[in-house]
């Protein structure tokens, strides 16, 4: 069994509509990319800390972080931007997807009949990386990210974009089979 490793790459976005090119360096043992996942750590708007520490813990409603006037009528705007990845060996872009700033259950502070304040809005089940199957020979992937949330809100939003690359490696250690790989096998068996 091949070993699967996760590579974490971070980059900062500070300007509205920012287009950022960056490179993801893979391990020298990597021979295939099997999954891509993304995440956003929203720091603040305009690069300043906007929330003063309070004595009691509290979840700030989204509207306090981003102006309410700019929100879409149908609800919370959580598309941070679009990420495209290109392997050095291939001309085509092998991954292109919207990056979403996941939101915790919005009704967290509202009591319900059972007083259970939990639930992850964006995790209705479990998260899993998006499967790709890209053999790699060189150790670099080109990445292009376009900010969307700042452009939409017409202001600078500072955040850290994280890209998780799941790759198969030919290292001598025991293999690790993550859940999404297992699901893939089950799906093919069916």
């Amino acid at each position: 069994m091949s070993r699967v490793r996760i590579l974490v790459t971070e980059t900062s976005i500070t300007k509205a509509g920012q287009v950022k090119h960056f490179q993801i360096k893979l391990s020298k043992h990597a021979y295939k990319i099997v999954g891509i996942e993304t995440d956003v750590f929203l720091k603040s708007k305009s690069g300043k800390e906007i929330i003063a520490p309070l004595a009691t813990a509290e979840i700030k409603p989204t509207e306090m972080v981003v102006p309410a006037r700019e929100l879409r009528k149908e609800g919370y705007y959580n598309v941070a931007g679009k990420l495209s990845l290109q392997s050095m060996e291939r001309e085509n872009i092998f991954f292109s997807d919207w990056v979403r700033a996941s939101v915790f259950y919005e009704g967290f502070l509202k009591s319900n009949s059972f007083q259970i304040h939990t639930g992850l809005k964006d995790i209705r089940g479990k998260t899993a990386p998006k499967k790709v199957d890209v053999p790699v020979e060189s150790t670099v992937i080109n990445a292009l990210y376009r900010d969307n949330i700042g452009k939409h809100l017409k202001q600078d939003i500072t955040y850290t974009l994280k890209v998780f690359v799941w790759m198969e490696t030919n290292e001598p250690q025991n293999g690790v089979a993550f859940e999404f790989l297992n699901n893939e096998k089950e799906a093919t068996e069916k």
């Binding site: 996760i6 750590f41 929203l42 259970i116 639930g119 209705r124 025991n174």
Partner: protein, 127 residues
């Protein structure tokens, strides 16, 4: 005879923006670990602010900076399926290293909280 094993290891997060590293030792009877998930008494803080690194038997399973939210399950998931399967990993020296990093996120305000690493595995039992 191998039986089901499950245990939670707690890490106290008392300061914002800090990394807490802890090494736990599992019982000698534990042979393999095949599932992990993260729980917290403040799900929202762990969800927005957390990232971690996990090492079992000196073998890195999740790289440093991997988001906590990616291995949290909602209550919509069946209780016996909330852990994330990582294949059967031989425990070996029985050491689990968990490094949790709290980082600022504009949507939350820090308050001390506890993050629990829950592991599922197999233990040897004579009964």
């Amino acid at each position: 005879m191998l039986k089901y094993y499950s245990k939670q290891f707690d890490v106290q997060i008392t300061e914002a923006g800090k990394t807490v590293k802890k090494t736990f030792e599992v019982d000698k009877s534990v042979k393999t670990i095949y599932g992990v998930c993260i729980l917290s008494n403040r799900d929202d803080l762990a969800y927005y602010r957390g990232s971690f690194r996990l090492e079992i038997n000196k073998d890195e399973i999740y790289a440093d900076g991997y988001s906590t939210k990616k291995i949290m399950s909602s209550e919509n998931v069946e209780p016996n399926k909330r852990c994330f399967y990582i294949g059967k990993i031989v425990v070996g020296n029985g050491l689990i290293t968990f490094e949790y990093t709290d980082s600022e996120d504009g949507r939350t305000v820090f308050a001390p909280y506890v993050v629990s690493l829950s592991v599922d595995g197999e233990r040897e039992s004579e009964i």
